[in-house]
């Protein structure tokens, strides 16, 4: 962020009415965005009423009968739903623990590399899994984790595995498989924002630090990381508020009859019970519940992040 006094003077007049009118052509460009928000974000909020109705495919929002809190009661009394909540939280926390820190470490490492072909190759390879859909990745993982797959073959070659095992049907391993495969897919991609922020750090800081005799680690600790702290805070807020939004695609391709108990997440359960059976009201009720909890998480994390960031607002 640049200090306020550096903002050129003419920009300060931006909020005065005459200049607003003076650039009405530019200002009008925002109208489609506002309309878009109204149509796709504000008006659909009205649709939440179906969480309190029994809504079927042939109904309209008005014609469906009211059922009060029945849908919510149904959710609260459903053990399989709570099982999916536990799985969602467990997998999300593991993803947070590993998947949040790893991109920062990788970004710092890439940043420290000298510009050149090696750096570019590393970046490209680390981005690559991000562009594969879970349908493809799922097929690859099912085969890699099978008894004759990559993992067992490499393990046997190194003498780590003596008896080939199919990893995907071991319920106890599923949380880790889900976490690590997700991290593998997204860690490289996650570095982009950090690298972009790092490139904005004033190089004179590093020069000064070098003259003062700071080591490489010292420079990372005292210049690079503080330089991206706001971005880390922002990412933290977004990630934590999305804790309950588990990866549906991933779950649907990796889940099988043996790991269901550990693999079923809120989204997949709602998909199975709500949407495939045309039970829109149930799905909406769960969605509403998740949204409320997510907003609470968002506000809470924002508070914490602001505290950690010397009382400067991030959002």
């Amino acid at each position: 962020m640049q200090p306020a006094q550096e903002v050129p003077n003419r920009k300060k007049r931006l909020f005065k009415a005459d200049s607003l009118l003076g650039q009405w052509q530019l200002q009008s460009m925002i109208i489609p965005g506002v309309v878009f928000m109204i149509i796709f974000n504000l008006i659909p909020i009205w649709g939440l009423v179906i969480a309190f109705k029994n809504y079927t495919v042939t109904d309209t929002m008005a014609s469906a009968p009211w059922v009060g809190l029945d849908n919510f009661k149904e959710i609260i009394g459903d053990q399989m739903f709570w099982q999916s909540v536990v799985n969602t939280l467990a997998i999300s926390f593991l993803k947070l623990l590993i998947g949040f820190v790893l991109p920062i470490i990788i970004a710092v490492m890439i940043f420290e590399l000298k510009d050149g072909p090696f750096k570019r190759i590393v970046q490209t390879i680390s981005y690559m899994p991000h562009f594969l859909s879970w349908i493809v990745l799922g097929g690859m993982l099912i085969s890699w984790l099978s008894t004759t797959g990559l993992l067992n073959q490499v393990g046997e070659m190194l003498g780590l595995i003596h008896h080939a095992q199919n990893q995907l049907i071991e319920p106890s391993k599923y949380w880790w498989i889900a976490t690590l495969s997700d991290v593998w897919q997204n860690a490289g991609w996650g570095t982009i924002l950090y690298l972009a922020t790092m490139s904005k750090i004033d190089p004179t800081y590093y020069e000064a630090a070098q003259i003062d005799g700071a080591s490489r680690m010292r420079q990372i600790w005292s210049i690079t990381l503080p330089g991206i702290s706001e971005m880390i805070g922002l990412n933290m807020i977004l990630t934590i508020s999305g804790l309950l939004n588990s990866n549906l695609d991933q779950t649907l391709v990796l889940m099988n009859t043996q790991n269901t108990a550990k693999a079923e997440v809120i989204n997949s359960y709602v998909y199975r019970i709500g949407l495939t059976q045309g039970n829109f009201s149930y799905a909406t009720a769960v969605g509403l519940g998740i949204s409320v909890i997510s907003v609470v998480l968002l506000v809470f994390t924002n508070k914490v992040a602001v505290k950690l960031n010397d009382d400067r607002q991030i959002l």
């Binding site: 099912i142 099978s146 099988n256």
Partner: protein, 547 residues
Amino acid sequence: MMKKGKYLAVALAGMLAIGGLTACGSKGSAGSTGPKESIADRYTPKKDTPAWKLDKKKKVTNLTWYLNADWWVNTDAFGKDMITKKLEKDLNVKIKFVTGDNTKLNTYFASGDMPDIITIDDMTSSTAKKAASWAWSLNDLSKKYDPYFLAHAAKKMTLDWYKLKDGKSYGYPNFSNTQDDFDKGYVNPTTAFVVRNDVYKAIGEPSMKTPEEFLAALKKIHEKFPDLLGFGFNSVIEGASAISYSLQDYLGVPVKTKSGAYYDRNLDPDYLKWVQTINTAYRRGYLSDDTFSDDTNGFTDKLKAGKYATIFMDGTTSQASALQSFIDANKGKKYVAIDGPQSTMGRTITLRNSGVSGWMNSYITKKAKDPAKVMQLFTYLTSKQGMIQMQFGIKNKTYTVNSDGKLAIKPEVTALQNSNPTKYTNTYNLGSFYLFANDRTLANGAANSNAKSVQQFIDWGKGKVKSNYLVENVAPDQGTQEAKNYSNINTTWNTSIVSMIRAKNDKAYDAAMAAYKKAKKQYDYAAIQKIMNQKMKQNIKKLGLKE
């Protein structure tokens, strides 16, 4: 230039804003009398002539056909290939297909802006149950516009089954199998226990009917062909129907108790004896764990490579091309159906196919612009002539009639299908438009068929296929608490059955079964069974079953 650009930006912004706001709809009105459209100036309906041959309407009728099936890929080809081109010419229509899911279907209902035809895939859904409010009854339409449909084209039992509370039928399905079809042997089996012929020969073609014989044969296979998987079955990752439902049928486990109540076949002792046998086979290393994590593609890939020595296979016809590629790549080797696991209590083998509900059902909506024309289309597709056209094409162009009366697709048509599938799709595309495909007699009438690789399976199963109307659609209604509980019980069962087969010791086996029994208690199976019993009684009444 600059100024122009500014105004352009404003205009664009405005257009976007207005375009976005005009998405509103009008409410549809509901009435229960037949359509008002008169056909007096076009033709006089006749009982023995399909109305499309009589209709003198000159103007092309544009029809919109909505398929609640977003996977349907045949929409672009329609009207281009020889057979659908003929359909559009005969009826003087132009059909536009739209595909989507429940959300899109809901949009149609909510806006009131309905297509002419709607096809859904579940007659037990609330959409189908409320059909009287948004679709015309086929009885009314046929009487008014095209009596040929009721008299000659539609199957009576199917129409009876599709009757709603008002005693009228609204939708018409594809692949609906009536008792008549079963009795005449028109219905093909889709389940088989198959072995690789070279492997089977090498172990001396032993019987595999009893648990002991089954295990002994698998032992020999394991010794002689250690690289092969001794026993396999369809993918079970989305549900273990192959080794529960289908195996239970194969063993002849009844669907009702002696007193006529719904029977939980998962706990049948005869069936469990075989589950234990398969568990023993697993413990001895004849099964691979990958069988339980493979998706459908994984299963098909292994099938193509001939990885399995023996397979309990469900949906055999849909594996025809995989089986054919194994045959093509390995001279003289193929999978053959043999008498596999048999009941330990002397029950007879039973094979199933779809029941009278069929699969996808099509409705003529109350918003149809020319209901008479749409009715003609339904008649066209359900009549024998239409069936033949959709399945075999046009006489002497794509098929010939043999001296024994059987229809044979011309060799050059089949050849094109194999050599240039894209050109085939645009030229012939036989059998791809199956939204009204019903007549199994025609499928059996084919002197040559694409499914050579499964012909032996079908021949083996002749006479073993039986109808199962008693328990058709008896599951609790969608959206009810019981339906959700039933779904949860089934999810538990899918986990339990696979865990039972994979159990390393008796304790693990018992624990897996106990989990299923516990779920039945927890999710109030008794209430579900009560509903199913009621529905079975309704089925008996509705179809006049003698059971």
